[in-house]
C-alpha cells in the first residue's frame, strides 16, 4: 500500500454523537412518543411446550381502556409467519407454544397499567407436552418433536481423503467441548412503536437491520416497500440481539387491530425470552504427526437454536466454517446440526458460531501441544495458514500472514519472557493463548447518498444503524476525507428507510468495509463533479485542479466548493448529489469472493487460580484487533475491549439455566454480566494495521474478533497453572474446583 496522507482518517476524532449521548438528548426507541399511541403488554406462555386448546380474551376486551387483544384468530388477511431463513415463527403462537415466554396474545390499551391488567385476564387453556430444553433431551429418539422434527438445519463440507489420512497419523485426539446459552443483554430491551394505517406502516424500532424489517413487514401485510417506513433511532446496544425481525410484526398486527399506533417496550425478562446465543456441543477429532504436523480434522457440532430457527441456519453453518481454526489441513470433514429445543429462540450474537467453534478448536490445540511435548505457540506457527492460503477451500484466500500478527500480541503480552510466580502453593498462575480467523458473513450490498450544499457543507445518508459502534463518526471521517472538507462540515443522517438509501444490515463487522466504500464512492462522485465545474471555471482540465481544504485551486487561484456549486446553478443555491453503490462487482474487484474478508482474532491471558476455592482471577488479557487501517483507532480499541469483556462473561460465569423448559434465571440478578470489578488487572488491545482489507484505505471489519478467543485463552491458562483441562463453560469456581479435586484422585 502506498502511504497516503490523511486529514481525519486515522485519527481518534470525537464521536459526532457524543454530546447527544452524554447530555441525555439522544433519542432511543424507548423515548419515542407518537400522538395517540396505545401501550402493549404480551401474554406469555407459562409452559415451554404445549398445545393451545382455547383462548378466551373476552374479559380482557371488556376491560375499560382496552383497545384490542391480538391472538392467532386475528392473524387474517396477512402472512402469519416470519423469519430470516425459515419463516417458521408465528406472529403470536398458533395452535402450539414452543418455549416458555412465547407470546400467545398481546393487549393494547390506553396505558401500561390497563394493558397489564388486561393481559392477566386473557384465559388460555393448554395441553402440556413433554419439553426438551437442551441438546441431549431434544436429540433423544423419543423426544416430542418441536416442529416436524427437532432437526432445524444440517451443514457440512469435506476435502481430502479423511479416513485414509487418519489411518496414517501418528496420534489422534478426540475431545468434546460444551458452550452455554448466553444472553446479549443490550441495555435497551427490544422496543418498537408501529402505526399501521390503511395505506402505509410507520415503524420506530430498536432494529439493527431496518431494510430487512421493512421487507418483512411489506411481505406480511401485502404492501410495497415504499409503503413501509422503518425508522431506527439510536440503539441502546445490539450485539446481534436486534438483527433481522423480532417484535415488529406483532406490534404492527396489534396496531392494525387497535386502529392506532401501539408501543411495545419489552422488559429485560421479555428480551431474555426473545433471543439468545446458541449453546453448542462440539466434538473435534484431529490426526497429527509426532512432529506436530496437522494432517486431518473431523468435527461434529450441534447448536441449540431454541423454539424457532431465528438465525439458526447461519449459525449452524458458521460454527462449522470456523471450527477448523486458522490452520492448514489437507483432510477435513466437518458436519453440524441445528437443533430445536424448548427454550428461547437463538439468533445472531457477535461472531455467530465463532466463540463456540474457537472454544473447541483452540482448547484442543493446547491439548495436542501438551501431549506431543511441543510449545503451544510453536505448534500453532507450524500449522498456521499463510497469506494467500485457502484456509477454507473454495473461499477467499487469507489477505495477510497471520504469524507476524500473532507475534505482535505475544510481544505486547511479554510471552517469551514470562516468568511464572505462584503467590502460594495452592494459588497458581499460568498463561494461555488462542487465535482464529472467522469468515465475515457480510453481504456486499450497500448504497449511500452524499448531498453537497451551496455553502460547502455536506449531508451523508446511510442505512447503517448507530448501535454504539461509532458508524456515524467513521462515515463522517471517510466523507470529510474524500470531499476535502472539515469534519465539522459533515452531517450524517441514518436509518430511516424513507430517507436513506438501502443498506442490507448492520452486523458481521461489515459497516466500515461495505458502507464505508459506499460513502467513499459517493463522496468521490461529488468531488469529481466539483472538479468538473472548476475545470470549466478555470478553463482547464479537471486533473489540473487541486482540491483541498474546501477549495479548488488552479495556478494559485482558488474558488471555494460552495462557490462552485452556486456558479453551476447560477444563483445563490443548489446542491450536488453523489452516489455510492457497493455490489459484489464493485470496481475495486475485491468483493467478488466469499467471505468479503477474514476477521482475525488473537488473545493471550494470564490467570491466577486458587485451588482451594476454584476461583479464577483474570490478571491480564491482551487482545488483537486487525482493522487493516484504523479509521478511528480509539473506536476500534473500544469495539475490541467491549467484545473481550462480553467474552469474559461467557467464559467465567454467564449461563442461561433451564430445567424442564422453565427458564430459571431470566433477570439481571440471577444472570450476572460483567461489571467494573471484572476488569482484568491489565487489559490491552493491539491494533494491527497492515492495510490488507478490501474496505476504504485498506480497512476491514472488526468488532467481533475480540469475543472469539477469550474462553480458550483462559482455559489454556488454567491448564498451564494447574494441569487441569476444562471442556465446559462457564469456568465457574465450582466447576474449576471440582475438576481440580478430580485430578487429585
Amino acid at each position: 500500500m502506498t502511504q497516503q496522507k490523511f486529514n481525519t482518517v486515522g485519527q481518534s476524532v470525537r464521536r459526532i454523537d457524543s454530546y447527544d449521548k452524554i447530555s441525555g438528548r439522544a433519542v432511543y426507541s424507548v423515548d419515542v412518543v407518537v400522538p395517540g399511541m396505545a401501550y402493549a403488554k404480551l401474554v406469555p406462555s407459562p409452559l415451554p411446550h404445549a398445545l393451545i386448546k382455547s383462548i378466551d380474551a373476552s374479559k380482557a376486551r371488556a376491560l375499560p381502556g382496552v383497545y384490542a387483544v391480538l391472538t392467532a384468530a386475528e392473524l387474517v388477511n396477512m402472512e402469519t409467519h416470519y423469519g430470516s431463513d425459515k419463516k417458521d415463527r408465528p406472529i403470536v403462537a398458533m395452535n402450539k407454544v414452543r418455549f416458555q415466554g412465547e407470546p400467545v396474545a398481546a393487549v393494547a390499551a390506553v396505558d401500561l397499567a390497563t394493558a397489564e391488567a388486561a393481559a392477566e385476564l386473557v384465559e388460555v387453556e393448554y395441553e402440556a407436552l413433554s419439553a426438551a430444553s437442551d441438546l441431549t433431551s431434544a436429540l433423544l429418539p423419543d423426544a416430542e418433536p418441536i416442529h416436524d422434527s427437532n432437526y432445524c438445519h444440517e451443514y457440512g463440507y469435506e476435502w481430502g481423503d479423511v479416513d485414509a489420512a487418519f489411518a496414517g497419523c501418528d496420534r489422534i485426539f478426540e475431545d468434546t467441548f460444551v458452550f452455554p446459552m448466553v444472553y446479549h443483554y443490550a441495555m435497551e430491551p427490544h422496543t418498537c412503536v408501529v402505526s399501521y394505517e390503511h395505506d402505509r406502516i410507520r415503524t420506530w424500532t430498536s432494529a439493527q437491520h431496518p431494510f430487512l424489517v421493512r421487507a418483512e413487514l411489506a411481505r406480511i401485510f401485502g404492501m410495497q416497500l415504499d409503503q413501509v417506513q422503518v425508522v431506527v433511532p439510536y440503539v441502546g446496544g445490539g450485539y446481534g440481539s436486534k438483527s433481522y425481525t423480532k417484535i415488529e410484526p406483532l406490534v404492527a398486527a396489534l396496531s392494525r387491530e387497535a386502529g392506532r399506533p401501539v408501543r411495545l417496550a419489552q422488559s429485560v425478562e421479555e428480551s431474555m425470552k426473545t433471543v439468545r446465543r446458541h449453546a453448542a456441543r462440539a466434538t473435534i477429532r484431529t490426526g497429527v504427526m509426532n512432529d506436530g504436523t496437522f494432517v486431518a480434522r473431523e468435527c461434529l457440532s450441534y447448536v441449540d437454536t431454541g423454539g424457532y430457527t431465528d438465525n439458526g441456519v447461519r449459525v449452524t453453518e458458521r460454527i462449522s466454517d470456523r471450527i477448523v481454526g486458522p490452520y492448514i489441513f489437507d483432510n477435513v470433514r466437518v458436519k453440524s446440526y441445528g437443533i430445536y429445543t424448548n427454550s428461547t429462540p437463538a439468533g445472531s450474537f457477535r461472531s455467530i458460531g465463532g466463540p463456540q467453534a474457537s472454544w473447541a478448536c483452540e482448547s484442543q490445540t493446547d491439548i495436542i501441544a501438551e501431549a506431543l511435548g511441543i510449545d503451544p505457540i510453536q505448534l500453532r506457527l507450524k500449522n498456521l495458514a499463510k497469506k494467500g492460503d485457502e484456509v477454507r477451500r473454495g473461499k477467499r484466500p487469507l489477505e495477510g500472514d497471520l504469524a507476524p500478527k500473532l507475534q505482535m500480541v505475544l510481544d505486547k503480552f511479554g510471552w517469551d519472557t514470562y516468568v511464572r510466580e505462584d503467590p502460594s502453593p495452592t494459588v497458581k498462575r499460568g498463561i494461555g493463548f488462542a487465535c482464529n480467523v472467522t469468515n465475515s458473513g457480510a453481504s456486499p450490498t450497500s448504497t449511500s447518498l452524499v448531498r453537497f450544499h451551496a455553502d460547502g457543507s455536506s449531508t451523508v445518508y446511510i442505512g447503517t444503524t448507530e448501535i454504539g459502534q461509532g458508524s456515524r463518526s467513521v462515515m463522517a471521517q471517510i466523507a470529510a476525507e474524500e470531499l476535502r472538507i472539515p469534519l465539522a462540515s459533515i452531517k450524517v443522517i441514518g436509518s430511516d428507510t424513507d430517507a436513506v438509501p438501502y443498506d442490507r444490515s448492520t452486523g458481521s463487522s461489515r459497516s466500515t468495509t461495505l458502507m464505508g466504500l459506499a460513502v467513499h464512492d459517493a463522496a468521490v462522485d461529488v468531488r469529481e463533479q466539483l472538479l468538473e465545474i472548476a475545470a470549466k471555471h478555470f478553463e482547464t482540465f479537471a486533473d489540473q485542479i487541486e482540491a483541498a481544504d474546501g477549495k479548488a485551486t488552479f495556478k494559485g487561484e482558488s474558488m471555494t466548493f460552495g462557490a462552485l456549486v452556486r456558479e453551476m446553478f447560477g444563483g445563490s443555491g443548489g446542491e450536488l448529489m453523489g452516489r455510492g453503490y457497493v455490489t459484489q462487482n464493485h470496481a475495486s474487484g475485491r468483493l467478488t469472493q466469499d467471505p468479503v474478508f477474514w476477521e482475525v482474532s488473537i488473545g493471550a491471558a494470564e490467570v491466577e487460580v486458587d485451588e482451594d476455592t476454584g476461583t479464577v482471577k483474570l490478571l491480564r488479557y491482551v487482545s488483537a484487533s486487525d482493522p487493516g487501517k484504523a479509521i478511528n483507532p480509539k473506536q476500534v480499541e473500544g469495539q475490541d475491549e467491549g467484545a473481550a469483556m462480553q467474552a469474559i462473561g461467557h467464559s467465567m460465569f454467564e449461563e442461561m439455566l433451564f430445567e424442564d423448559g422453565q427458564f430459571l434465571n431470566p433477570n439481571l440478578v440471577d444472570y450476572r454480566v460483567p461489571t467494573f470489578e471484572d476488569l482484568p488487572g491489565e487489559f490491552e488491545t493491539v491494533l494491527i494495521e497492515f492495510g490488507d482489507g478490501p474496505g476504504p484505505y485498506g480497512s476491514k471489519g472488526v468488532g467481533e474478533g475480540g469475543i472469539v478467543c477469550v474462553a480458550p485463552a483462559i482455559a489454556n491458562a488454567i491448564f498451564n497453572a494447574t494441569g487441569v483441562r476444562l471442556r465446559e463453560l462457564p469456568l465457574t469456581p465450582e466447576r474449576v474446583w471440582r475438576a481440580i479435586e478430580k485430578s487429585k484422585q
Binding site: S12, R14, R15, D17, S18, Y19, D20, K21, I22, S23, G24, R25, A26, V27, Y28, V30, D31, H184, Y185, A186, M187, E188, P189, Y234, V235, G236, G237, G238, Y239, A265, S267, V268, I467, G468, Q469, G470, K634, Q635, E637, G638, E641, G642, A643, A644, M645, Q646, N667, L668, V669, V673, P674, T675, F676, E677, D678, L679, F683
Partner: protein, 162 residues
C-alpha cells in the same frame, strides 16, 4: 397510609426548579421523570437496581430511579443528566468521557456520568480500585469499562490541575 390508585401530589425540586406533579403510590421515580416531566435521559433497563441506567441524584446521592417510589422525593432535590449542563464537574467529565471514547451506544452514559460525578464530589482523587468499587452498580455492555475508568481518572486529574 397510601392506597393503590390514590392520587398523590409530589412537590420537589428538579434540576434547580420547583415542580408539582400527580402520581400514584406505585409510580416509580424513573417513570415520573421520563413520562411526567419528559426528562428522558434516565433510562429503564434491568428494573431491579442492578444496571444503573436509571441513576439520578437525590439530594446529591445516586439512586436507582427504577426502584424508588416517586412520592419518596417529596421535598427533595433531584438532579438528572439534563440538569448538569452548567455544572463544572460535568464539563470535565464530558470532555474526559468523549476524549477517552468512553461512550458507545450511550444508553448507560447518563447514569454512568451521574455516578462518576457523585464519586468525584465525594472523593476527588479516587484510586483505580476505588473507581471500580464505586462504579460497580453501573453496567456498560459496550465499552468493556476500561475507557470509562480512564475517563474518570482523567477528569479527576484535570480537576486537580484546575
Amino acid at each position: 397510609m397510601v392506597q393503590a390508585n390514590q392520587k398523590l401530589t409530589v412537590a420537589f425540586n428538579v434540576n434547580g426548579g420547583d415542580v408539582e406533579i400527580d402520581v400514584t403510590p406505585e409510580t416509580a421515580l424513573v417513570d415520573m421523570l421520563r413520562d411526567g416531566l419528559l426528562l428522558k435521559g434516565a433510562k429503564r433497563s434491568c428494573d431491579m437496581q442492578v444496571c444503573g441506567a436509571c441513576t439520578v441524584l437525590v439530594d446529591g446521592l445516586p439512586v436507582s430511579a427504577c426502584t424508588v417510589p416517586a412520592f419518596e422525593v417529596r421535598g427533595k432535590s433531584v438532579t438528572t443528566i439534563e440538569g448538569l449542563a452548567a455544572d463544572d464537574r460535568m464539563a470535565g467529565l464530558t470532555d474526559a468521557f468523549i476524549d477517552n471514547a468512553a461512550i458507545q451506544c450511550g444508553f448507560c452514559t447518563p447514569g454512568m456520568v451521574l455516578a462518576a460525578k457523585s464519586l468525584l464530589d465525594r472523593n476527588p482523587h479516587p484510586s483505580e480500585d476505588e473507581i471500580k468499587d464505586y462504579m460497580r452498580g453501573n453496567i456498560c455492555r459496550c465499552t468493556g469499562y476500561k475507557k470509562i475508568v480512564e475517563a474518570i481518572q482523567e477528569a479527576a486529574q484535570k480537576a486537580v490541575q484546575g
